[in-house]
Symmetry: C3
Subunit: 383 residues, 3 copies
């Protein structure tokens, strides 16, 4: 008997299959409610998890490469330079069409600077009465050079500390208004963008297949009429970013050109299309801000006859355009599918079981009869 028992146990270990003893409650109300809940669960999984959240997909983030090319010319007429035509090599910085490019919109030029000594631009810290107010070798943080320790005439009335610097000093107190190159508004930029999702070895360009060269030569981007044209009017982008070009041109700023490559690669490749959007990235409001706008200084260096180096200092205000490419691609993959479905079902079934349990715990006398009945119907229990 013990042996027989033990043998049977061994057999069970190997070939025994355990299943739960189920209890069938044959109650229309409860049954209906149960089916309803089942339906809700399935609906939730199908609609929300699968359809909206695409939880059945494996994802990869975009890798991208961008090149840009600006077109346009402007004629200016200033006291310093006279009539001058600005072309791309002059107003686009850096010239080599990178994904972040700056277009000059306003300029303060200081020609003929040489290494010498001259009085500082008057300010609270640079004004002086006598040499004792100036420290030799001292460099003012917001100053233009290194002080020589002398206090010299800046104008008939004002004396300021003398500095060793590129003289004459730049005086950027007056900013040209309207912006010198305000007409840059009409320039166009061609943006070429190549992206790939290495995990799915998917590659695409923003020059879409169904667009021919002749169209590309003449189109300019417009959200409604030409949503796939990669040529953008600077003014149009600034307007879409909710800014006024003529105002922004004065002190410069940063505009983000966002290219959104979010794609569902379970659909055919042709549905994976870039979405363009524009927004201002820098902080224009003067509160909790410092040096609003966007400007920097660069210089052109010359040597005069006596081979003394002179330079033209240019304080350049401009609008920097940052092409920011982002996106996630999703493609069906068995692991996330199983993980998400499994987990969701498991979780919900647990939740239901608890609710159920707590709900029917209060009516124990319902269960036994039910059970007994169901046991009978399935010819169960005692033989």
């Amino acid at each position: 008997m013990g042996c027989k028992n033990c043998c049977s146990i061994c057999l069970q270990c190997l070939f025994g299959y355990e299943t739960n003893v189920m209890l069938v409650i044959n109650n229309k109300g409860v049954g209906a409610l149960f089916r309803l809940i089942q339906f809700l669960i399935i609906a939730y999984v199908a609609v929300y998890v699968c359809w909206i959240q695409r939880a059945y997909q494996d994802t990869d983030s975009v890798i991208s490469s961008v090149s840009t090319k600006v077109k346009g010319n402007i004629l200016t007429n200033t006291s310093i330079e006279g009539v001058h035509v600005w072309d791309v090599p002059e107003y686009v910085i850096p010239p080599q069409g990178e994904k972040s490019f700056l277009v000059l919109t306003n300029v303060i030029q200081t020609p003929g600077q040489t290494q010498s000594k001259c009085p500082e631009i008057p300010s609270l810290v640079t004004k002086c009465e006598s040499d004792s107010d100036c420290i030799e070798g001292h460099t003012e943080v917001h100053g233009n050079g290194v002080q020589t320790g002398h206090c010299v005439q800046y104008s008939d009335t004002i004396k300021t500390c003398e500095v060793q610097a590129w003289c004459p000093l730049e005086n950027d107190t007056i900013i040209p208004k309207p912006a010198l190159l305000g007409a840059a508004e009409h320039f166009t930029v061609l943006i070429k963008n190549n992206i790939q999702y290495p995990k799915f070895s998917f590659r695409k360009r923003n020059l879409l297949h169904h667009i021919n060269s002749t169209y590309l030569k003449n189109c300019t981007f417009d959200r409604k009429t030409d949503p796939h044209c990669p040529i953008f009017r600077l003014g149009h982008m600034v307007t879409e970013a909710g800014e006024d070009f003529s105002i922004m041109a004065l002190k410069g700023g940063i505009i983000g050109i966002f290219i959104d490559w979010n794609c569902d690669l379970d659909f055919p490749e042709r549905f994976c299309i870039p979405k363009y959007s524009f927004s201002r990235l820098d902080n224009k409001n003067p509160e909790n801000n410092i040096a609003p706008g966007y400007n920097f200084r660069f210089a052109k260096y010359y040597k005069n006859n006596k081979s003394i180096e002179t330079r033209t200092l240019i304080k350049a205000f401009g609008i920097r355009f940052d092409v920011i490419v982002f996106g996630m691609a999703g493609k069906f993959n068995i692991v996330p599918t199983i993980v998400n479905l499994g987990a969701t079902l498991a979780f919900l079934s647990l939740v239901i079981k608890c609710l159920w349990h707590n709900h029917f715990h209060v009516v124990p006398e319902l269960l036994p009869g039910d059970c007994y009945f169901s046991m009978e119907t399935t010819s169960y229990g005692t033989p």
Copy 2:
């Protein structure tokens, strides 16, 4: 009795442990099938989820910093410049070794440009008969300057609209062939790449520990012989990208240098090694394309004796190399492990249960006897 009952219920609430009543089917066929399925599930989880998908790992994406340094000299002999040696500062743009650098391969130079007036390059839109064909102040999109409103002789036969511009205008109709700096093919570039995975505080360089300085000084990258050498021959990279350097050099283009840092950080650090690959990023085929190749214009500015600004305009065709670093690191983490295993098992057990249920629902008469028998063997049921 009611009290005793209620008490026992209370006790149950606190200390009662509920377990399912299991039913043991002692049937070799079914049991074997059951064991088989169990094995399949475990196999699936072990092999696919764990091994292939590494679903037990937490992941982090790479943060990287790149610096590059090109080496090489070229001697050219042109009508404009005569014999001229090009060195790095002249043909690498920008010079400061960034992760995206351009190597000039072809050049159209227009020396001695000054701000003045001259006839436009003939084209459909610039040709004219009389001044009435030219609009003063008009800027042609593809033109070189701002029209003065006059129609002047371009050559004996052709009249074109006069423009205010940097004159003489550049004539880029003829591109030097073969490429002026085609020999750039033999240049080498040293790429230094530092990466880190902040989440795992893991840092590494593409100059691997086991490589010594002397080797680095002389090696050049080769997939077979020198897969870890960070010095690349430009020609070699272009060839690996499936392009012909001499052809690409004519009009320029963009080559992506991909450095793949995908690492399994559960393995020792030394197994985390960069994989290099190369591919052309820009669209070379003329269909659905615009301005194929890669070119841009920049200028060198001079002042002559009368301190009038002149410049040499350079239309530069070049190959831009974008170093694109990407990768994901994975490391064991308990949460994704539990989540993935749990979810997978839960899902599969649900699936099995359904199949099983539906399969055995048709043979109810099997169950009871089985059940009863199993109850007996485990000394179950009536005492």
Copy 3:
């Protein structure tokens, strides 16, 4: 009977609700143990999964835009140039405040270079006895030009191969020590950083709301006193990176400025604050390294009276600062919550069940009595 049976089965299919037949073990020890395990599971889920791993959140990675502005002046006094003041346009490369900017710290200048012929700098490969040692048209990898095939006097004692190049050649054997622009240590840089998490349409700047303009004008970053000031002293950053500025200035290097925007967006926006950190990115140790430090060459081009092009070659050693913005934002989302909770619970419950099962399998005689008793208490079993 068969019909009645079949009907009931059909009804069950539609309205029948199946639940497990539970067996209540009424045993204080077991019950307590069971409750303890339940508690542990909940504790684990609550503390680890939810609190530490924030597994209930959906995540998005940061998109950022950076602009920088350096301030400061240095006075140098060299034999070549005499007294010279360096200002931002001269020592910051590129000038247009990008997220990766280089500050010159040491310079080797070679003025008055023209295209001509001159003897190579002596080295093992360039020294020669007769013309036969030099190959016409040969370019030495580490050389400065293209050999003419002649062997000429470099000095009274040394003969080297003549090269066509920008002559006189640069001699960079002696690096100025201390660094010419070592005082760059005291320069400050303003870093403006705008980030966004598109998935949560969350945008923020590193110029925080609660900071006013006057503070920003005068503060400099300090981890303790001014942790939110976006103005950094170069020397301070290098020190925080664990380097000595004066030493690093000699040969240059790369410093990473890491801005960590990891945010829990379930908390109010004001808690999402950038964390700054600094570390050296390039490899300074001479072993398994090549060309340590960071340097590059660029040139200023001039034309002399006879309009012959001359240039000043500048070998620039500098510290490149790479602003590297990274971060992940998390926000509550129902899907990951359900997935993670569900999966975790499912997994743990499976684990428990197995342990339990194996543990109580050895004491079958415990179960029946228990079972029978519990059946009685719940008025179960035989009617």
